[in-house]
């Protein structure tokens, strides 16, 4: 009976971890994606100073999120997103806004791919 109780605790722990990690993963990536989209909007209308501030905020947001995301997702899966987001301040400094926006779009697409890969769907399960 004690063993069965332990088994139920283990199973509950597994379910809680799976649901919690899935929720955190989705929320963090959705929030990052929204920030990147806002960054694209800002890059189309605002000054260099505002864009620089906002870019730094997005990079800081990524650095905060990546700590928890790395514990849920294969690190290789996160690497490309990380490279794109962390390269944004340099792109802003040394490149034009179009290249900057393209990098943001690339990062958004990769985030979308990551989100899709963790969705509960037949193709992901199989």
């Amino acid at each position: 009976m004690k063993r069965v109780a332990f088994a139920l605790i283990l199973l509950s722990a597994a379910i809680v971890i799976a649901v919690w990690s899935g929720t955190v993963f989705r929320n963090e990536l959705a929030s990052l994606s929204a920030s990147l989209e806002r960054l694209i909007d800002i890059s189309e209308a605002e000054s260099d100073e505002i864009l620089k501030d906002e870019t730094e905020k997005v990079v800081a947001q990524w650095e905060k999120s990546s700590k928890i995301l790395h514990s849920f997702v294969l690190h290789e899966g996160m690497d490309t997103v990380e490279q794109n987001i962390t390269s944004l301040p340099l792109l802003l400094k040394h490149s034009d806004r179009l290249t900057f926006r393209n990098k943001c779009i690339e990062a958004i697409n990769q985030i979308e791919n990551l989100l899709n890969s963790e969705k509960i769907s037949i193709e992901n399960i199989l």
Partner: protein, 225 residues
Amino acid sequence: MAVTLIRATILYVIIIFLIRLMGKRQIGELQPSELVITILISEIASIPMENNSVPIINSVVALFALVAYEILTSAAGLKSNKLRSVIQGHPVIVIRDGKIDAKALKKLRMTVNDLVSALRQKDVFEISQVSYAIFETNGKISVLLKPEYRNSSAADLDIYPADNGMPFAVVCDGEIIDETVKDSTFDISHVKKIIVSSKIPVEEILIMTVDSKGNVYIERKENEA
């Protein structure tokens, strides 16, 4: 490297905990489902250990779920014969009254050679001597010989020797084992008295056993007894 060491330590602790939770079984006595779980545990645990980019939490969730399923299905099997039969299979009689049941062998996808080999491992070389041979769900064979070929017991010879019970190792390597003392018919103060009367300091005792009839055996360390 340090990360690998820490990850290996975490996984080691988790696996030991899970294996202990699954209960004691010898490798050769594992039921099919237990064997599968054991192999899966080692496989799943090895992935994050050899690749640091794999999150440890993924493996932990899988390990928790597998062990929980194994315990829950075996617990459910205790309640339901049908479920037990589905999960573990059921024993199959392959020899009845010295005759091989070819159908049963075919069902088990075993050859007569496999059967004869299994019998030999049970020290049975003559099929005609076998009353019943049964393949158990863990893959082992149980053999019941015909009465005339069975080893005679003391009862067969009308001899009833005194039963001294099982000797309990109450001292091992210079240390009194409280749990064994509890299992024996002695209490700890009695065991200590015996040690004092033996005039051997407890730390010098390699092993001391007692049985229910009060027989005591003491061996000193380095065979000095």
